[in-house]
Structure formats: C-alpha cells, structure tokens
C-alpha cells in the first residue's frame, strides 16, 4: 500500500512538471499532461473557456470558433493537424473545476478531452489535461493519428505563462 501511494505521488509530481505521457492500448490511447500554475483557478478557467481569446495565448491553436459552453460545439484548428477542423462538443462543465469535450461517435471512434483544475493551498492551480481516443475502429486508424505529447506540453506551458502573467500584474 505504501509503495503504491509513493508511486502515485511520484506520478503526480512528474506530471505536474508539464511533461506529457501517453498510454497505448489495443483499442485506445490516452495522453495526459499536468502542470502547476502560480495563478488562481478563476484565471486559468477564464483562459480555458474564452474561445475568442485562445489564438492569442495558445500557440497550438490556430483558430477557434463557437462558444465554450455546455452542449455547444466548438470548431478548432490545431498545429497537431493544421488542415483539419476538429469539431468538439462541450459535454460537461463544472466551473473552475472540470470540463469535458468530446468528438466522434461511440462505439466506433470517440475522443474525450478532459480539463481538470485543482486549487492548491497556497493559491496556485494544478492543471491537468487528458485526451482519450479509442473505439472499435481505433486499431485501424491508430497509425495515422499523430502523437499528442508535444502539443500537450506546449498547451500546458502556454497556459501557465499566460495565467501567471495575468496574476502577476500590478495591483
């Protein structure tokens, strides 16, 4: 039990450094990144939920249309695949804490992007972003889906930089 707890703590610590990790399985792939941000959850949440402002601070997003609100669909272009328009539906929103976007259709192929914010004691925020893609068709498509790690790391780094810049403004 103690070993397991230590392993979990090490993983959390490792992920909060902004390094992405990917776990591959036959029918799914999951990429995750976590980073500690020296800003309140409110600022981080505001950045994550203002579609019109994304391209200004997030170098991995080249365009975004739509409102980031529950049950709304957002169309975005990413450096991950510059020619493709990703259509994502906002499935769940718990302000300041959790947001889930989905794409595709179960059970064939589905992507779930989860953003989680947790407030730390000293007022900082731990931001976690995971994306799980998978389904019955996944094994056939897996080879053509680029790795997400580098883009996830950049997303987390951009978010940290922007949120901390805002937080550190003069009073």
């Amino acid at each position: 039990m103690k070993t397991l707890l230590t392993m979990i703590m090490m993983t959390t610590q490792l992920m909060a450094n902004g390094q992405a990790t990917t776990n591959k399985k036959t029918f799914s792939r999951e990429t995750a990144v976590a980073i500690e941000i020296d800003a309140s959850t409110e600022i981080v949440w505001a950045l994550l939920t203002t579609a019109s402002d994304y391209t200004r601070w997030n170098s991995t997003i080249t365009s975004m249309e739509g409102d980031i609100a529950l049950n709304e669909t957002v169309k975005l272009k990413s450096t991950l695949d510059p020619d493709r328009i990703f259509k994502l539906k906002v499935k769940k929103m718990n302000p300041g804490k959790l947001m889930i976007w989905s794409s595709g259709a179960a059970p064939f192929f589905m992507g779930l992007r989860t953003y989680t914010l947790s407030e730390n004691d000293e007022g900082s925020t731990t931001f976690t972003m995971t994306e799980k893609i998978g389904g019955l068709m996944f094994p056939m498509a897996a080879g053509s889906i680029p790795p997400f790690d580098a883009v996830f790391q950049q997303f987390a780094a951009d978010l940290k930089k922007e949120a901390e810049l805002i937080s550190n403004q003069n009073q």
Binding site: A39, E42, A46, T50, R56, L165, I166, N170
Partner: protein, 266 residues
C-alpha cells in the same frame, strides 16, 4: 457611517471623473446625464447601507457602473473598425460636416488637436471590447482605481479584474498595432491626420505629430510601452472640458448614431 453631507461632498468631488468615465462607456451625453442623476438618487436613498468597506468614491462608481452595465448589457458592442464605418458615413453627410466646420470656426471648444482625436479614437475603439473588459480598462488605466477597488465596483474577484484588464490591454494593443498609422507605418487608419488636414489646413501635421511622445517613440518602443503612452494622452484629456470638447462631443454623437444604425441593420 457616512452622512448625506459626506455623500454630497464626495459626489461633487468625483462627478467630473464619473462623467468622463460614463461618456467613454456609453458614448452618449444624454445617457451620462441620466446615469449621473440616477446614481445620485440611488446613493442618496441607500447611504444608510454604506458600510464603509470602500471609499465613498468607489461606492458611487459601483452604483454608476451597475447602471451603465444595465443600460449596455443588451446592446451589441461596436466593431473594431468603427472609425472606418463612421468615416464613410461622415463623408456622405454634408450637414454633419458643415456643422463640424461651424463648431471648429466659432466655438471656444472647437479646436482640433491630434491628441484630442487620439483620445476620441480610444473611446470609440474601446467600445469593441467586451463590456467587462472595457469597464475594467477604463477604471484601472484611465481613472487609476486599484485592482481591489475595481473588484468592489464590478462585484467580482481581484483575479477576474486582472484577467479582464490583461485581455483588454492585449486586444487594444493588437487593434492599434494593426490599424494606427501613428505607431505603425503599415497602419490602415490615418483619420487623425486626415481630419487635421480638414480642420487645420495651414498646419504642418508632421510638426504636430512629433510633439506627441507616442508617435516620437513609435519605432523604439514595444507595443506595451506605446499603449501606455497612448493611455497617458487619454488620461490627460477630459472629454467634457478640453479645447476641443465641443467638436469631439459632436463627433462622438455622430459616431454613436452611425453605430446604432449599423448594429441594428446587422
């Protein structure tokens, strides 16, 4: 505990600043007059509930800001290219141009100065920001309220005030960097020098421009510093009481009319 006497004294002391702030929010002298009146009535009626957690001035600005927000919330924001749209409308409106020229020639507040137009332009362009962003930008950067005080005025957290302020600044810098020929040789808007040519035909515009720090330092300063220099100009001019106030207020009324029509048609 504050008294009506305290309120009257503080209201009178900050009334000028409040009017300038509301004018930049609403772009309408009529709306400003209404909000000023309603603010006083509300403040007077609820002075007993003032708990002294902020200054009276902050409390008065909070009441006025709420009234302005109630008025503006349902209205569409102006587009970033507001000055282009209004320029076209002005050029095809001979009566308006005649009226402006008459003010220029006869009014003691009818001077045209480029820095006055920079202030006017700022007011118009800032109306393209989301309402909360414009409000916070004006309160912090034009009227020198502290983040903590603005949080009270807009009834939000300090974190969100900082967020609105940052995003407002970034957006305004981006717009001016793209549009303003005073700071960018490729800038697509030359309206201030164009109007200077109309209202001051014998004046050398270049000579006037080099007197303005923001223009003088356009090549050597970065966007943030140029925006701060622009804000210094804005802060230095009271739109109700300047050598060009009558001319600029008439121009603002024109732009508001054009925008109301433009947004309605849209």
């Amino acid at each position: 505990m504050a008294t009506i006497k305290d309120l009257n004294a503080d209201f009178e002391a900050c009334k000028g600043q409040l009017k300038s702030y509301l004018l930049r929010m609403t772009a309408s002298t009529e709306d400003v007059d209404d909000i000023i009146q309603d603010t006083y009535i509300k403040a007077n009626a609820s002075i007993s509930s003032f708990e002294g957690k902020s200054t009276l001035k902050t409390w008065i600005f909070a009441i006025a800001s709420n009234l302005a927000r109630d008025l503006l919330r349902s209205k569409k924001r102006w587009p970033e290219n507001v000055t282009d749209i209004c320029r076209e409308a002005a050029l095809s409106n001979r009566d308006f141009l005649g009226e402006m020229m008459n003010i220029r020639m006869t009014s003691p507040h009818g001077d045209f100065e480029i820095k006055e137009h920079i202030t006017f332009c700022f007011a118009c362009v800032s109306k393209s920001l989301p309402l909360e962003q414009q409000l916070v930008l004006l309160l912090k950067q034009v009227h020198d309220f502290k983040v903590k005080e603005i949080a009270v005025i807009i009834d939000n957290t300090e974190a969100m005030v900082k967020y609105y302020l940052h995003t407002a600044r970034q957006k305004m810098m981006e717009i001016f960097d793209h549009r303003c020929s005073l700071i960018n040789k490729q800038g697509i808007c030359h309206q201030c020098t164009e109007l200077n040519g109309i209202f001051n035909p014998k004046q050398d515009a270049q000579e006037e421009l080099v007197k303005i720090d923001m223009v003088k330092k356009a090549q050597e300063k970065d966007k943030e510093q140029l925006f701060d220099l622009r804000l210094e100009i804005v802060k230095s001019i009271d739109p109700y009481d300047s050598p060009a106030s009558e001319l600029q207020l008439r121009h603002l009324k024109h732009n508001k009319g054009v925008m109301d029509k433009h947004l309605k048609e849209k």
